[in-house]
Symmetry: D2
């Protein structure tokens, strides 16, 4: 413990994403958790809320006094509901501590888009320009030891954008034909006690939800919009799958023919992926003919990507898989922390996926 | 038992679809199973292979001597691998007994399409013109006591076509923009002992498979092609979901604007569905804002359909759910049998879905 | 509908047991549901709470005015929390309507045992002597058209008692060595929104709960006490299994040696089961070497029973399986209703188990 | 990689236990896998068989030439079917390389017991005296750098023995009253393609199997026999649970009264556990009233233990949970390897459990 230099506070430590940050940081050689914030379980032992940490974490949960925490910590993870951080953030806080926010508060640059999709007023839009969108593989250059505020991307968003980005950027697909059909494990719905998330309601069933209205939609559109250099509007449909973890994105887009009307070949599309991801540790471009499966990324920070060209319809089917709690939340947050503190990006994140 | 008039033989009774025919016919007031055919379990008690039928079925499994069976039965269900029925069908058989085939052998009118997608030679294409495609809600008129051979539609196909048909037929969507993203429970993969279908391989995971190559694709295209009056090419991507039963189809299509460029309204689309399905017993058009969930059709012959218009992308998202073993296989087969023998179509098929 | 003679009211219709009564009665030729009682969903359509009944049930939920309901109904099912019926039951009610109570209020004859295990005061112990314990296979003689109040047994209890009863009654096992290790699907925990019943908490896990303190314990002891003619004390440990439905009981007991110290043989034990259950429609005594599996009773009112003698330890291992929502709750309630109205006991309850 | 000193060969690397050794060793600072043995997948990339290792393992599978491997490796893990190692083991091999055997071949000291329960001849009983039973927490003293052959305990055995050992050893329970009711996730059944292990057969069901005949029984009896100083005969009943990983043992035993007939108290039983496990890293004795749940040990090498005294029946209910692939197989094997090479016992095994 003596060498651990980064003091970490977690606000919302007893949600699934918060507890996953705990799991990852327990194996991180440079980080030390000093604050387990949880409004619902104040003064209770954290390990009594998450029995997996019995004997590994002795701390009790504390409330969310950010001012006090800011003095003790080097970085704070806010794994909190939308609106929390925007409601309490101040310049004074950011002068003392870095913040990685796992909520949507600082993901969208346009406050009106945020307010339209999330139906709440944004209480501190003045920090939006400063906030960096923490999709490391794309925005790595902006996440530096000088950065104070990172907006950690959503789980669906991370999977969707990473799956489609190179093809949009290289102009190989028409971004406005992009249709993202996403499937998520149930931990994405959080640990709130709600009837629709009960075992018997989720088990042995699949359904779409938030059709044409899910809040990750504008976030998914924002990066392709930058990449394409023009406004991109897509379809995004999330589905609830009877499994704990994992997101699979199946995306469809029309291929853009070349000068002589020829569609991009397998090799050209693969080359686009290699160009952007060839050196990425966490992105695994699968071999030809292999489709991503969520079981093969579970527990890890990897994103598996594959694609198939359909000559008949002149579309390409893109597929990406990740663990929604790791690369889709806690793992990416730690990845951002590593960048913020100048550590190798995969520090503490090299664990292989757990299967079966 | 004395009043039961229809003598039924089942070839392939020990597959999941075959055993589901057994379950349904045990509750059918007019049918009596006289032959449990199963090459793998000859002379074994059927109830030793499917313990749920213990004390309910005393018969042993018999082999697939169709000639002998044809003399004893009024109708034969063939729940067999592709190629079986095509390989043994004769005019002599059809003179003696009606056949409802649950394989793909007689679903596609164009033998070359069959051979291209299934990679096997069709041994009796001469019966293709006579075979009726048994999608009752659409082809009911052709399924009569005079019909001898019914090609029972595939599970993905039934769900996909029924979900999209009225909108294609009414010209409300552009059929060539249709993208069908389907999710199926694992019973659709059959009872064969294969590693990819083991519990630990399927559980806690989701994946796409057969991307751009799944054999149900041409079958899904055939009916919309008739409905649209021109050749329709679509994308169809099946996914494997960790649940026993159920298919959910999420389909995307561009809406066709009216004369002044106005998109079809919710009411217009709903009216199209009502026009074709308003009186259908087995199709439940859900209330506005309700999305189908497979848990609500499990064990029943219902198809639940819902849709959402996305004004931003000018597309409509169509959703349909059914139980792949019932409406997607055995239930529809019994529905066809009812039509073949002049019974009310829902005879023996009125059981409510089982939830949870 | 015109011939349906039994008018049924359900209090607590939106719990899992209540909704299962609905499912069963929709297929019952002599029953008609006239009242869907549900405090939580008053004035909402029942089918909006349980989507599986869409288009099958048009009624809205009503509150629990028993006096009003008693005038309209022939029988009331109370699928309510402990204490509800005991708190409202009156002689006046019982003069007008029969009641089948699915709670524990009238299961235990000794009010002090009830109050000790359930930690609530019993508000109407005066009806305890009249209440009949509705374990049909054992108490059938007491459930007649004259009976006014039936205490429907608990799910664990039904499975445990039926599995062990003949051997206790015949003196083949020492009842005080009985250890009942039970495993239940999650629907047994009800539809209340509680964190421990969330999908991600139940899935991929198994645990014991209520160890040595579960409230079904005295109920399980009561019938063996009568059967043995002396007070029986047992161990009962329930476990939560990641599946929707089903209870499996694995019970252990020391065999009582015969006069010359010889242990009972397989044939003797089997004969004991045959003696009590040989003609029972709903009890299936499995073939030698076959162990019950919950999948083979799902959706049905069957109880599957098997046993193995362990010569090494001189114990017998008894196993019983049922569907906790059917034979463990709603199915047995309907079975009791059939007896109360002089109908064949399996009326509306002949559906085969659904597998897979 | 350069500092890795222990060269490891795995025979049977493509079974679930073998692949879990791979996962653990990828995170082990002192081990390097040099041989992925797999008869079924020779020359195929290991990562094509277990997609979770894509980009992490580049090696191809090799056959099981032990002589060749013995020259290259420091230790061999044999995760193979019963009989394999006994059939090929030689003094020559053991002179060159240490072996940790995950099969049952060298677990039982009495070859006749082995042959009676496993129904195969033991081909090399001459090594039985030398083999050390690798239940580290109990036999740690015998597992040293001089040890050549370790018999890695079975999954059920590890859980059962560790749960009951201190109470047997301290004479607090009567060992011959011990009844072990065990529940296992499906990975324990291996990756063989068999109908009973298909998703649809396991899902939504629970069953007992191998009742009174399971091969782990004599292994579970052996350690208590040593601990009690007299022959112990127990009941052991395994159950198959629809989840991937985890074993839960619920064990029942009669408490031994003290001199004045007083039963052992909670504190006395707890003290017995503390005496043997108080300093054990991998055994977590839960707080009073907390029952083990498999979800809280998943992916880790921990064993969680709890107990409840039932004053009514004078029995104690013991409960233990572990991950069958980790502490029940691969994790314990690595723990043994650490002991064999003089490393801290938890090297590479400190990862927290993964939940949800």
């Amino acid at each position: 413990m003596e060498n651990r230099q980064i003091r970490v506070g977690i606000i919302g430590a007893t949600g699934y994403a918060g507890s996953e940050i705990v799991r990852l940081l327990l194996g991180h050689p440079q980080a030390q958790i000093i604050w387990y914030g949880s409004r619902s379980y104040i003064d209770q032992k954290f390990a009594s809320v998450y029995g997996n940490f019995f004997k590994l974490v002795e701390d009790v949960c504390r409330d969310d006094r950010l001012e006090e925490l800011a003095k003790e910590a080097d970085v704070i993870f806010t794994a909190t509901p939308q609106g929390f951080l925007a409601g309490v953030l101040t310049e004074d806080l950011l002068r003392q501590v870095k913040i990685v926010d796992l909520s949507a508060d600082f993901r969208l640059k346009d406050v009106s888009v945020y307010e339209a999709w999330y139906k709440i007023e944004h209480k501190s839009p003045e920090f939006l320009p400063e906030a960096v969108y923490g999709l490391c593989e794309i925005n790595r250059g902006q996440i530096t030891p000088d950065t104070r505020l990172v907006a950690n991307p959503g789980c669906y968003t991370t999977c969707s954008i990473l799956t489609a980005y190179p093809l949009v950027r290289e102009g190989l697909i028409d971004p406005n034909t992009l249709i993202v059909d996403a499937k998520s494990g149930t931990s994405g719905a959080g640990r709130g006690a709600k009837v629709p998330n009960l075992f018997c309601e989720v088990n042995e069933s699949i359904k779409a939800y938030g059709v044409a209205t899910h809040r990750h939609t504008p976030e998914i559109e924002e990066q392709p919009t930058y990449a394409a250099g023009r406004e991109v509007t897509i379809n995004f449909t999330p589905h609830l799958v009877p499994m704990n973890r994992g997101i699979l994105v199946t995306a469809y887009a029309s291929l853009v023919p070349g000068p002589e009307g020829k569609l991009p070949s397998y090799e050209e599309i693969r080359a686009a992926y290699e160009k952007y991801y060839g050196k990425e540790f966490f992105i695994r471009l699968l071999d030809r003919g292999v489709c991503p499966e969520t079981r093969f990324v579970e527990g890890s920070n990897f994103v598996d990507i594959g694609f198939v060209i359909d000559e008949r319809t002149k579309r390409v089917i893109l597929m990406g898989a990740l663990d929604n709690l790791v690369k889709g939340a806690a793992g990416q947050a730690v990845q951002n922390m590593n960048l913020l503190f100048g550590l190798p990006e995969n520090t503490g994140l090299c664990m292989p996926p757990v299967f079966p």
